[in-house]
Symmetry: C2
């Protein structure tokens, strides 16, 4: 079958690989009908060293079940399912807490031997991982449903961990698809003021449609000053950080209100960061976030898409066949596209 491999920074190719085979009785194999390129795929696209064997890419998918292991009981061949970016058994203590990304039998498709930018996908812990879409769901819903495998629910995770709610001022750092999703989720949760920090007008315009009340194009100290001005000098109750680079982190603690919460969902491209008296501690600031526990939110989100409450699929502004996925990476890297949907 055809699958996407990255061999080094900027070198993405579609190549023939062996079809996946069931390994565990809890596995399933799906034929991928919808996949996409994630903002986080651009991190290795920028800095992956020479990888002669290639790195399998992609961690977002909708597909149709083709095979199931003997222990899979909730799914049947022919079901259309959403597969989140991490697999999880749904039964361990951490899954029961809702922290599905820390499942004791879990893992991440990103960097794994099976990945979604391909014709077929091995889904470990299929009962716990994959969620059925109602039979007969119209194709027009698929882009929004696909965002439930990662991007929309990652934005939503930021808002949940950040305790966004009515009356709160929320600032979203980053106008990528996750940042825009965080704006949409903040609006859903009743945030009063939603400040979107981003400089790409096409993106921030969609952010306004999703619910942003203010857009701040400035960065660094100027951006911090602007947000402080909008908030009457008091800072933002919640900051949702959807970038992952240190300047975004620094911006976050510059604009946070004393006692407020910085919620990160941009995968940190750093390990150490300021947390002492001068950054977080002195202002009683809470730092939270992590890999989105998408699976814990998925069942509740599907009906919201199907009844039209949310339309997060609007983040897709391009669509390409699998064979052209290298172009999808390029479009996103050059910011010519916000997010590209792939049809294997």
């Amino acid at each position: 079958m055809r699958a996407t491999l990255m061999y080094k920074s900027g070198d993405v190719r579609v190549v023939e690989v062996p079809e996946p085979e069931l390994r565990e009785a809890t596995d399933a194999i799906i034929r991928v009908t919808h996949a996409c390129v994630c903002g986080s795929d651009l991190h290795p696209y920028h800095d992956l060293g020479d990888t002669p064997e290639g790195r399998r890419m992609g961690h977002e998918a909708i597909g149709v079940i083709e095979q199931i292991g003997t222990d899979v009981s909730t799914l049947a061949i022919g079901d259309t399912v959403i597969v989140p970016f991490a697999w999880s058994d749904g039964t361990c203590a951490f899954c029961q807490d809702g922290v599905t990304t820390s499942c004791v039998h879990g893992g991440f498709f990103d960097g794994a031997s099976s990945a979604t930018q391909a014709e077929k996908l091995l889904v470990p812990q299929a009962d716990g991982t994959a969620v059925k879409i109602p039979a007969g769901t119209d194709e027009s819903f698929m882009p929004s449903l696909l965002t439930l495998s990662d991007v929309y629910l990652t934005g939503y995770h930021a808002t949940i961990r950040g305790e966004v709610g009515p009356g709160k001022t929320v600032t979203v750092i980053g106008d990528g698809a996750v940042g825009l999703s965080a704006v949409l989720a903040s609006k859903q949760l009743g945030a009063e003021t939603i400040i979107l920090m981003g400089r790409h007008t096409a993106r921030t315009d969609l952010g306004r449609e999703f619910g942003a009340t203010h857009v701040v194009a400035e960065r660094g100290e100027e951006g911090v000053a602007k947000v402080r001005e909008i908030t009457g000098g008091e800072g933002s109750h919640v900051v949702l950080e959807a970038v992952g680079h240190m300047p975004a982190y620094e911006q976050a603690y510059g604009i946070i209100r004393p006692g407020g919460t910085i919620s990160r969902v941009g995968v940190p491209q750093y390990e150490d960061a300021p947390v002492g008296f001068g950054s977080l501690f002195g202002k009683n600031v809470t730092l939270t976030g992590g890999p989105a526990t998408v699976r814990a939110y998925l069942e509740a989100a599907i009906p919201q898409v199907l009844d039209g409450t949310i339309d997060p699929g609007r983040v897709f502004d391009r669509e390409l066949p699998l064979d052209d996925i290298a172009e999808a990476y390029r479009l996103m890297d050059d910011r010519e596209a916000l997010k590209v949907l792939i049809r294997p």
Copy 2:
């Protein structure tokens, strides 16, 4: 009057200084009846450079009002009051949020020109800062009431920010007076399992009386392994970090359960720390805490002391006159005393 000054690491003296005078109409001056030495006073005791003019010491006090400015309306001369370690106006947006340590007219006695290890104390923003003790309160309650100026309510702050509650496993790092206070507060809030990490038996014995269900004397990796064993390999829902040094921080993220909360009240003796995928982010760990918003909790805590619900004053195991305060520092630094009460 006599006041305590520190001139460099290890050099604490009681010297004559001018009496404080009212500067603002919102000030009050109290005659200090009870003060004490704080674990955080030991930080400059270890590392203060040469300070020829001396640094005024002390930030915990009970005293009797001697003078009030013309705008002070809720206090009268002769009132006995508790003064928290930070002053605050009680009216600004942050005070209304309960984040009194970020008051726009606030400040910290620690390092200020007025400090509590002295015969008299200037209290800025007296209406917002000082809280009356009922007239006629028995002297036997004073040690416990004095802990409400900092140490007990700092432990309590850790539990509130850490969302300690019924069914939770809580680990307290540090067997100093704040750590033991955090144990007592966790017990009050219904924590099911309370693990105290500390190696000083006299202290951990008091910790057991305050509610610790387990004591772990090991540190570093061994300590982490021990807590993981006690928690069935899952880690602790909440970690209350009452030390402030990097090894305690590292211990905290080693023992935290995925999705759990590390709440810091030990003043960080570092600015940068691990927060990336390998420490906090990957496990969806929340980092919270800061200078305790003691003032926000004070009114509710006084009746708990007076009706015997809590007896946090048990952390005082020595009492000395002001003139012997250098000995109090030495006793605490050498761990011969847990916390020393001072009578100016």
